[in-house]
């Protein structure tokens, strides 16, 4: 019946034409019959028309049968609903605001989840692109990086058409041409077949030449992101083939990736891609390491294209075989190294559980908010229905079907919900765009440009309709079940009578319960936030400004850079209002940073285990600037120290020199011997929740060569 109705409705134009034809045939037959009885043709036609009646009205009547009355009813109901809602702006505003908050919270969280979990990569055949990461064979989550030789071994897999490796966090100084001030951008080092495997859309030019661009000494080339091309090169349409400045070298632009493609890692924004032939010039590693042959160094990420007719399961099985073979062949490095394949462009497996749990938590909270909003609006509607009792009773009394009145009331709540949904979507956009403006205090760019795509719009609309049903249905059913006579006699009729457990009581009770839960939750959140703020970080973060720059990329000589750093420091200190200034490779509470093993010399020559320390290279004045007090000893002397000196924190002192005064003692890290000149109190180093971490602070002006290594 419904399908037939829809079919009729869709064909209504054709059907109207056929109906007219049918009626015309009728008229002709009638006229013929009348003419047989002796009427003139003209008279017969007129008589036929007279007996037939109004052709147009008949057509209209028929049409209204196919075009279900509910459409016209719906239009009527909507018009009526708009009128009613406009007559009660206070009620409407309250209801729409409630619904907006509820739907807005849910839409925003869905938008975030959609962005983090469900967004497909803007590449051709995203379904067959895999990301291969390392995992421990003893269980535990995948997501580790791989060694470059492992990547080469993965190329044997028959189920994989091709495999590409990349390292996504390469900083570089990029300028349109020499002489122009360069700016730091972050990009990827990628194997030459990277673009053949990943297959993003190209706006200009092409990807790398898979047959050449990996070889050392090959002409250096670069692929730019759409963003970099726009922001640094003024969307130059003739950029392909041009030389640009990249870390003080000339490299040739071969292509510009299509807008939207910023690499395959969720949240990381790549601005350029350079081939492996340039691996040496990026100073990613100390000279002693040979990253392309070292199986111990885990640093590449791998993207792979599934061969036709093979599944991800086939690939996983084959990767297991390869992993077993490598374990047998290289027990020193690969004893515990397995591989894990999954569709590319997803949150890294090591984070996924956390991310999903996070969203489940957020969604639950926002669903609770939505439920409260629903209960709130339902209550408003119930209260209003009592006031409209007479209107409804009159409608029922003069013959409106209950279904019809329910439908009309539902149209009203649907309209409210849709208005709320629109408001909610607006709120969600406001929320996500303010997130977008939020700058994380880390050096490399993180993608927070959360776009609310069609899925979020759809989600909001569906949620609005469901919400409208949820808060509208029960009040509508209630309102149309009144005691007719009582209502008509304008007796003050109470809906649901006076009972302990009436519907409105239940609504209020659930509303208060949910609100209590939400209040308790948010109070707990606020408390832990406050506790975190009050936590002693060991540093004075008030009135502290941070500036980030990367002199290592300029290609200047070491002495020139040292002079530059001294110069910067001097000038910064001379700015009015600057109390003190200092340089550092890293500041406390950065999520990333270098570590090393430190051992203190022991007088008796006894062997103590090395201490794992966080490494900071800092200038004189660092501790003063950050408000970290000295426990013993003193700060670095001005100028470049002649010998290896270091400052350690109390935690490091306790581990490396237990029960001794470390001042003047020697310590060794990675073959370097340093003399300890000071001990400072322990600060938080990586996260605010950590236990005291041992740290070593090296003089930045002496250790400039080291900085290059430390930076990566």
């Amino acid at each position: 019946m419904i399908t037939r109705r829809i079919r009729y409705w869709l064909q209504s134009r054709d059907r109207a034409r056929l109906l007219r034809e049918e009626m015309y045939a009728h008229l002709v037959m009638k006229a013929e019959e009348l003419m047989e009885k002796g009427m003139s043709e003209a008279d017969a036609r007129a008589e036929a028309h007279r007996q037939f009646g109004n052709v147009t009205r008949t057509t209209e009547d028929s049409r209204s049968i196919w075009i279900a009355c509910w459409i016209t009813d719906f239009a009527q109901d909507s018009a009526h609903a708009v009128r009613t809602l406009r007559k009660q702006p206070g009620f409407t505003a309250a209801a729409v605001l409630s619904a907006s908050l509820g739907i807005g919270a849910c839409s925003m969280i869905f938008g975030l989840a959609n962005f983090a979990l469900f967004r497909p990569l803007p590449v051709a055949g995203a379904g067959t692109l895999l990301s291969i990461t390392g995992r421990s064979l003893r269980g535990g989550e995948a997501g580790n990086m791989l060694a470059y030789p492992d990547y080469l071994d993965l190329k044997q897999a028959r189920s994989l058409e091709d495999v590409a490796a990349f390292f996504p966090l390469v900083p570089a100084a990029v300028a349109a041409r020499s002489g122009v001030e360069p700016q730091r951008y972050w990009g990827s080092l990628a194997t030459a077949n990277y673009f053949d495997v990943v297959r993003p859309h190209f706006l200009l030019g092409r990807g790398f030449d898979a047959s050449r661009d990996d070889r050392r000494g090959e002409r250096p080339v670069i692929v730019l992101s759409h963003h970099l091309w726009q922001s640094r090169f003024g969307s130059d349409p003739n950029i392909v083939g041009r030389l640009i400045e990249f870390n003080d070298r000339n490299v040739t632009v071969v292509g510009v990736a299509g807008p939207g493609f910023r690499g395959t890692e969720v949240g990381l924004l790549c601005d350029f891609w350079v081939p492996f032939s340039m691996v040496d010039e990026l100073h990613l590693f100390t000279a002693s390491k040979d990253p392309l042959h070292d199986r111990a160094g885990l640093w590449v990420m791998v993207a792979a294209r599934l061969r036709r007719k093979f599944t991800q399961r086939d690939a996983a099985a084959e990767l297991d075989v390869i992993a077993r073979r490598l374990t047998a062949a290289y027990p020193a490095t690969n004893a515990d190294r397995g591989f894990h394949a999954e569709p590319a462009g997803q949150v890294s497996p090591s984070l996924r559980t956390l991310v999903v749990l996070f969203f489940v938590l957020l969604i639950s909270v926002s669903v609770l908010v939505l439920l409260t909003a629903c209960a709130n609006v339902a209550n408003l509607l119930l209260a209003r229905a009592s006031a409209r009792q007479k209107e409804i009773a009159t409608r029922l009394a003069i013959g409106a079907g209950r279904g019809r009145v329910v439908r009309q009331l539902l149209t009203e709540s649907l309209l409210l919900a849709l208005l709320g949904g629109a408001g909610g979507f607006f709120l969600a956009r406001l929320g996500t765009s303010s997130l977008d403006r939020f700058q994380l205090p880390i050096a490399f760019p993180v993608d927070l440009a959360i776009s609310l795509d069609y899925r979020v719009v759809l989600f909001s609309v569906v949620l609005s309709v469901l919400t409208g049903m949820m808060f509208g249905l029960v009040p509508a059913l209630r309102a149309t079940r009144p005691d007719l006579t009582g209502a008509l006699k304008s007796e003050p009729v109470r809906l649901g009578r006076l009972r302990w457990f009436s519907l409105r009581n239940a609504l209020v009770i659930s509303q208060i319960t949910i609100c209590m839960v939400l209040l308790v939750c948010s109070t707990l959140f606020l408390r832990s936030l406050r506790a975190a703020r009050l936590l002693d970080l060991g540093i004075r973060s008030r009135n502290l400004l941070l500036m980030n720059f990367d002199p290592a990329l300029s290609g200047r000589t070491e002495t020139a850079n040292t002079r530059l750093l001294e110069n910067i420091l001097e000038r910064a200190a001379s700015i009015p209002g600057v109390e003190s200034g200092s340089l550092a490779t890293n500041v406390p509470l950065s999520p990333m940073g270098d570590q090393t093993m430190l051992s203190g010399d022991t007088p008796a020559g006894e062997k103590r285990p090395d201490v794992n320390v966080d490494v900071y290279s800092v200038s004189r004045g660092f501790f003063d600037t950050l408000g970290v007090p000295f426990v013993a000893g003193e700060d670095f002397r001005p100028g470049v120290p002649a010998e290896g000196v270091a400052i350690i924190n109390r935690a490091a002192a306790e581990h490396a020199f237990p029960d001794q005064n470390p001042i003047g003692r020697r310590a060794t890290y990675e073959g370097h011997v340093v003399r300890i000149v000071g001990v400072v109190s322990t600060t938080k180093s990586r996260t605010i929740a950590e236990d005291p971490r041992p740290c070593i602070y090296l003089p930045i002006l002496r250790n400039f060569a080291e900085i290059i290594r430390l930076r990566a």
């Binding site: 109705r5 049918e22 045939a25 037959m29 009638k30 007996q51 009205r57 008949t58 049968i65 196919w66």
Partner: protein, 108 residues
């Protein structure tokens, strides 16, 4: 002459009844109604068509284009199985109703 000449709601039933004899086009149905009722029932012919559309939409009759006896294109309607069932139930209700009216009018 208006639709008032018919008892409300009886047109559908009578159209269905007419079609039990076999397929008919719209004009044929009006003719039959007139003949069988000895010209007592005069349908305003136009009002037949919305009724036919309604019956067809409900799946009670089925319309097919064909040629009339004088070779004119016309739409012929046949009764479907569902239509037959509908006719039976409507006729039954009608009989009960008219018998009740009869009894009331037969009061001395």
């Amino acid at each position: 002459m208006g639709k008032n000449d018919l008892l409300p709601g009886t047109l559908d039933m009578m159209v269905l009844k007419c079609l039990t004899r076999g397929k008919l086009h719209g004009y044929g149905i009006t003719q039959m109604l007139k003949q069988v009722s000895d010209d007592v029932l005069q349908v305003e012919e136009g009002s037949l068509y919305p009724a036919l559309q309604r019956l067809e939409l409900n799946g009670w009759i089925d319309g097919q284009w064909g040629l009339s006896s004088n070779n004119r294109r016309a739409r012929f309607y046949t009764l479907t199985a569902a239509g037959r069932k509908q006719l039976a139930s409507e006729a039954n209700r009608y009989r009960q109703m008219s018998a009740a009216i009869e009894r009331v009018m037969g009061l001395a």
